[in-house]
């Protein structure tokens, strides 16, 4: 089954290793549990205990095989595998509120932590001191940073925060890397420079995602909207007002489409049309309805009418795979340009893996129309 129920409590955050045989997750407490995929399920192989507060973010660097975790105890730890044990190294973030999210950069030489202290800590390892140091991006963030995503050039960082804005910052560390090449978001990228800022007319930004090329950034906001900005001299922003509950997480799966999920407990597809600058709802991706409609007796009908003012037999049972809000979505196979599998975890303590089948039909006059068919992996 592609749905596995790990716990009865919410999974706060999770991360996969490089070959997707192990998953590290936080079972809503101070620990991180690492599970190994066995033929007949999942076995817990490690328990990482170091945090004094709930672990709010986990990221697993695929190449260097290091895990970084951050928590409400205002700390972050970088874990390295020594033999068969994971050994933590403390990273002093110099924040006075909880850390909320953490992400390794694409080249894995630095990571960014968003926190309630209204700043982003960019941490990198200094060889001379044998110690992780951090630099802060403060201005002009006015509230908690809820989500982060790196641009493929290892320098630009998108952040979504509770001050209703999505921003792209430069996290260029001159000790670590050369000057980056110009991008559609700008060419001068000193540390902390704001390359793009959204208009801030919506709700809290729950999640941000760069597209595979880095030329587009998408964000999901608490006022049930999803928006995409395309980089350029004047960035073009397209947004879609949804008819559903707010989305909590999203990721690009091709350059033109993204998958998002949230309080409605099912992933949904959105397609971006660059020419017309519009986003359209591409469909709900979930288990098909399996419940048979049984007939109602007249007595039941009257009872329903009396109790609920409607004769419908709709039961108050969620028909989606996840039984509670989905809080995190990660690309498993393929990358953000051509994702073939993605994984969702939620507040029901379960993890689901979804297959993406891309069939492209190219129509003569129009640009390539991608129709994506989703089904659960058998």
């Amino acid at each position: 089954m592609a749905y596995h129920s790990f716990l009865l409590e919410p999974i706060s955050c999770h991360a996969w290793n490089k070959d997707r045989t192990q998953i590290a997750l936080c079972p809503n407490n101070h620990e991180v549990h690492i599970y190994q995929k066995e033929r007949s399920g999942w076995m817990k192989i490690h328990v990482l205990k170091e945090h004094n507060g709930q672990v709010t973010g986990i990221d697993w660097a695929p190449e260097s095989n290091r895990i970084v975790t951050c928590g409400t105890d205002r700390n972050a730890y970088v874990w390295t595998l020594k033999g068969s044990m994971w050994k933590p190294t403390l990273v002093i973030l110099r924040i006075n509120r909880a850390a909320r999210c953490v992400k390794w950069s694409p080249r894995e030489n630095k990571f960014a932590v968003g926190s309630g202290s209204r700043l982003i800590s960019i941490c990198y390892f200094e060889q001379d001191n044998d110690w992780w140091v951090c630099k802060h991006i403060k201005k002009p963030i006015r509230s908690t940073v809820l989500s982060l995503d790196w641009h493929p050039n290892n320098v630009l960082l998108a952040s979504g925060s509770c001050d209703f804005k999505c921003r792209i910052f430069s996290a260029y560390i001159k000790e670590l890397e050369d000057k980056p090449a110009p991008t559609p978001w700008g060419s001068k990228m000193p540390f902390g420079e704001v390359m793009f800022e959204s208009s801030g007319a919506g709700g809290w930004i729950h999640d941000v995602s760069f597209s595979a090329s880095g030329n587009r950034v998408a964000w999901a906001s608490h006022d049930s909207t999803v928006a995409i900005a395309e980089g350029g001299k004047t960035p073009v922003v397209a947004s879609l007002y949804l008819e559903t509950l707010p989305l909590l997480c999203l990721t690009f799966i091709t350059e033109n489409s993204l998958v998002a999920a949230g309080h409605d407990c099912y992933p949904a597809l959105f397609v971006y049309d660059a020419e017309r600058s519009t986003i359209t709802f591409g469909g709900k991706l979930d288990v098909p309805k399996q419940s048979a409609q049984r007939g109602m007796t007249a007595r039941e009908r009257f009872q329903n009418l009396d109790k609920k003012a409607t004769a419908d037999n709709k039961e108050a049972v969620l028909e989606s795979l996840h039984k509670n809000s989905i809080s995190q979505i990660l690309v498993l196979e393929g990358d953000k340009a051509k994702c073939t599998k993605f994984c969702t975890t939620g507040m029901d303590g379960g993890m689901a893996v979804w297959d993406v089948k891309v069939s492209s039909q190219s129509v003569m006059s129009l640009p390539c129309l991608l129709t994506l068919i989703f089904c659960i992996m058998a």
Binding site: R118, R142, S143, D163, G202, G203, H222, D223, S224, T225, Y241, L242, E243, T244, L245, P246
Partner: protein, 150 residues
């Protein structure tokens, strides 16, 4: 044992007010829309032209101003138009709105719920049902999260 012999007045100080980094919502310098003109919708209602009255009443929503009087006036006008609709016509009226219009209508409906009068709740609930069918839960979420209230 430490004894607190000094005054405890400090406990009543709200330190967040003195925080230099306190979040102050930036109000955009957008045009202050004064709400719909009172006479026109009334005139149209008397004429029986409900749809036009409806659209006129939803024009110029006072979202950018903090003036309570203007907002009250706009709310009263919209409420009058909504209550003079026949139940059968509500659906067509809602369908004639675009996405922003439905969100705006929802804002006015919830504003109307805040101060219920004799008959207003019944009619507002009917409007709510029709607007919900078009706007979905998202439109209600946008009413709750909107910082620029109508």
């Amino acid at each position: 044992m430490a004894k607190n012999t000094l005054s405890s007045r400090f406990r009543k100080v709200d330190i967040d007010e003195f925080d230099e980094n306190k979040f102050v919502d930036e109000q955009e310098e957008a045009a202050e829309l004064q709400g719909p003109d009172g006479a026109e919708p009334t005139h149209l209602i008397h004429q029986g032209d409900m749809m036009t009255a409806f659209h006129v009443a939803l024009r110029n929503p006072p979202v950018n101003t903090k003036n309570a009087v203007v907002k009250e006036r706009a709310q009263a006008i919209v409420l009058r138009v909504l209550t003079s609709f026949r139940s059968s016509e509500i659906e067509t009226a809602v369908r004639s709105l675009d996405r922003n219009g439905v969100d705006l209508l929802m804002k006015y409906i919830y504003r109307g719920f805040e101060k219920p009068t004799e008959n207003s709740s019944v009619i507002l609930l009917q409007w709510h049902e029709k607007a919900f069918a078009v706007g979905g839960l998202g439109s209600i979420v946008r009413v709750l999260t909107a910082r620029k209230t109508v």
